[in-house]
């Protein structure tokens, strides 16, 4: 029974799950939930995901949602030998991983996501950009990436010496902001540039970057 992803191919969070499936060579079936048609708010879908967002998954009857926990579940179940999540017995490596995952969620995700909305989604829908808001968001994101530059000067990855989910979680927004919004976030930050170049050239990301 293939791993089922109920999602929308271009969606950020759907691609995040598909990326980890590719990393672990887990074949998946994408069952489309159309955002433009509002299928993510339909009662049948809300039974799967009560907050009405994509994706949700069904792994041979085990159902869950939220892309980052799904990624963790995939590694736990299918990632034998994978170092994308540290061994829980290594309490220190796990703590540093959790710190990095929390940083992505608390410092990066919100300004990055809203910038993408302002600079890519709104123009696509013919809506005007909020220039003041864009200025504020850019200032915030830049200040956060300045910290990333300092952290990545001392260690190769956000969680330490090994690539983990904490690094990969950044890909959908970073790709969108650099390739679609054409923002230059890395030229002045050689360590962020090195790190982003490495994670974005992984075959798993190349396979799903434009659609799960």
């Amino acid at each position: 029974m293939p791993f089922k992803i109920y999602g929308f191919p271009p969606s950020t969070c759907t691609r995040r799950v598909a990326l980890v499936c590719k990393e672990l060579n887990v074949p998946y079936e994408l069952i489309p939930v159309s955002i433009p048609k509002g299928e993510h708010k339909a009662p049948e879908y809300l039974k799967r995901q009560p907050f009405g967002v994509v994706p949700a998954i069904d792994d041979d009857g085990f159902t869950m949602f939220e892309s980052r926990p799904v990624a963790r579940y995939l590694v736990a179940k299918y990632g034998k030998g994978s170092t994308l999540v540290p061994d829980p017995k290594d309490i220190i490596a796990t703590a540093k991983f959790e710190q990095a995952v929390s940083v992505e969620n608390n410092h990066f995700d919100e300004p990055a996501g809203e910038l993408f909305l302002q600079l890519v989604i709104k123009p696509m829908r013919g809506l005007p950009k909020d220039e003041e808001r864009v200025k504020t968001l850019l200032a915030t994101l830049n200040s956060k990436l300045d910290v990333y530059e300092m952290v990545l000067a001392k260690q190769p990855y956000l969680g330490g010496d090994i690539l983990t989910l904490a690094d990969l979680f950044h890909l959908p927004w970073l790709y969108g902001l650099t390739e679609k919004a054409k923002l230059d976030l890395v030229t002045s930050r050689p360590n962020v540039a090195r790190w982003y170049q490495e994670i974005s050239s992984r075959p798993a990301w190349q396979a799903v970057k434009d659609g799960a």
Binding site: F62, M64, E66, R72, Y73, T94, A95, Q99, S102, V103
Partner: protein, 221 residues
């Protein structure tokens, strides 16, 4: 072995979250107060430990860690029998789902409304915006309708036993109740009896009650 040091503020929201979990697990700790009012958290000596310039962080016998949920997970990992992070694979996945729900569906609006409501309640002279509070509370009302659906089928957010995912809703889950009365507020509505039941249980826990007047160094339990 040196006592765990919690660098933060005695009334600060994220410091309280960590203190609640330390108390749940009976971990002795020393609160080292950071003078946030005078910008101590933005000075180079502080940024060496917490590069984003926020409180809190911990020093556990030389091991430095920041981000409150990472700190709480670290403490719970050192006390695996507590069950605050389930280890069975499916229970763990559902715990991670609930912890992510708190982060993506609860915290964004609860923290923004909650912080301002707390500032008003404490009487601090810091600008607040009633429209911002109202907008975030409106978003949170809809999110809590989804919580009601979840909590109508199970006792806690991750399943039948309490986990860190429940505790992460503190303190902002309390601060958002400052808009309204004790019997009718966003966490205590007649239309959401299961949310009300879950919330009441959470705030009756000794770990929350211990620091109602502020976090303090705790060496004995």
């Amino acid at each position: 072995m040196a006592i765990l040091k919690l660098y933060g503020g005695k009334q600060a929201s994220c410091t309280r979250r960590v203190a609640t979990v330390l108390h749940e697990l009976n971990v002795p700790f020393e609160l080292v107060e950071i003078d946030v009012m005078n910008g101590a958290h933005k000075k180079p000596e502080y940024l060496k430990f917490q590069p984003f310039g926020q409180i809190p962080y911990i020093d556990d016998d030389g091991f430095i860690l920041y981000e409150t949920r990472a700190i709480c997970r670290y403490i719970a990992a050192k006390h695996p029998k507590s069950g605050l992070i389930p280890t069975d694979p499916k229970s763990n996945a559902l715990f991670e789902q609930a912890a992510s729900v708190e982060l993506t569906n609860f915290d964004p609006s609860a923290s923004k409304a909650g912080l301002q409501l707390w500032i008003k309640k404490m009487g601090y002279t810091y600008p607040t915006d009633d429209k911002v509070i109202a907008d975030h509370l409106e978003t949170l009302e809809k999110k809590l309708d989804a919580y009601e659906a979840i909590l109508s089928k199970q006792r806690y957010v991750a399943g039948e036993t309490i986990t860190l995912a429940d505790i992460f809703h503190l303190p902002y889950g309390v601060y958002v109740t400052y808009d309204g009365s004790e019997s009718d507020n966003i966490m205590n509505r007649a239309s959401r009896p299961n949310v009300a039941r879950w919330y009441k249980e959470l705030v009756s826990r000794p770990s929350w009650l211990a620091y109602l007047d502020g976090v303090k160094t705790t060496t004995a339990y």
